[in-house]
Symmetry: C2
Subunit: 256 residues, 2 copies
Amino acid sequence: MTKRPVILVSNDDGINAQGIQFLTEVMREFGEVYVVGPHDHQSGMSHALTFMVPLRAKCLKDTPDLHIYSLNGTPVDCVKFGLDQLVPDHKADLIVSGINHGSNSANSSIYSGTASCAREGAVNGIPSIAFSSLDFSEKINFEPYRPFIKKIVQVILNQGLEEHVFLNVNFPKPDKEIKGMRVCHLTKGLWIERFVAEKDPRNSTCYWLTGEYHNAEPDNEDSDEWCLAHNYVAVVPIKIEDTDEKTKMALSVLNI
Amino acid sequence: MTKRPVILVSNDDGINAQGIQFLTEVMREFGEVYVVGPHDHQSGMSHALTFMVPLRAKCLKDTPDLHIYSLNGTPVDCVKFGLDQLVPDHKADLIVSGINHGSNSANSSIYSGTASCAREGAVNGIPSIAFSSLDFSEKINFEPYRPFIKKIVQVILNQGLEEHVFLNVNFPKPDKEIKGMRVCHLTKGLWIERFVAEKDPRNSTCYWLTGEYHNAEPDNEDSDEWCLAHNYVAVVPIKIEDTDEKTKMALSVLNI
């Protein structure tokens, strides 16, 4: 009998979010599942990690096929903890994160803790996939996403991923019929951010971050925003940041 | 008279760190300087941002040429706040961060708050440079770095940077003679991380993140780790993450 794949699951909405519970259930069809989620919400934590204070872990379930832990850390801490402390021989065959309650399309992937779990997998040479839904609500019917998740996971377990590449998957809201799935590119655009100044109840000024996404290519059918707006699942392979060779040549004047 | 460049300065060691004070002083030779640093240490915060709680700002200095603020947020919050609330017309000609007390070479750039300030600049189309020193101590003689910082800033103010590219600059420790400066690539390698379990004074288990960098190309003279080990300033142009076109083709089976 071939050994079942070892799958590490994490998220940034916290261990009690419906999204990670649904994703865990789907992953159990594929292998032995280790889940490590933050104790609570860690949205917008990007690739942050914790080293100035120690972490504390809670074991919530420990059966031969399913191991669930929560941690008082960031999403990336959860992945690192799972790889170092939980999976056999520090090795996972696949890392999945989500399903995030809220979109992580276009350059939101840079700020997202969900995407960061998958990026951390890619840094470690493990095929990794981040899943997010455009639906922000806490209670979502995730069922329509199941066949797409299964298809993606089957393909990636089968053919792997290029080094330093992870998949960023976004689902349209599940209330309309999903038309299909497209492998596409991160939309070019920009968050225009404004801080809204308010007085707190003690009359002290505080600033809330607000933002609006400006899509630079709204009609591009190959962009993830277009796919999502037209009810397709958007799958973007993201290459993590690396040296820009062209600029390296252009700056040779700095070799002194 | 030509308008002097508007320069935004931030860091992740906090507004009181010697590194940001030195960098601010050097930047004043080039233009009108806006400084926004976190109230306190924000190391390892990567590209995290704050939107679940409001931010509070302190104005520490406000003169025609120099404006200094601190914020109870992440390094990226500081850059966003500076761009939205402080610089004229939301426009900066240059963003610099650091000088970080500690190295951010190789793939540490992914985890670093210092690098993230520059990445946030690149996201916004602003030429941006992260500066870090291999010296972790709080009191460093930064003077030997001055001519290199000035050279880099002169060149970048003059010729700009490619879209979505920022510079990640690391300095060797200043106690030995610096041999020169090299534009090079992010070293290929991996942090092997281990959590050390300890008992706290209440006999509860907690985990400290520790790590060791494994350099996959220690003899490559074009890598930033090699340059730093041989007392050169290492300048790496980093392209922020984007779609991997090759994988996009390889996954066409997912277009359903």
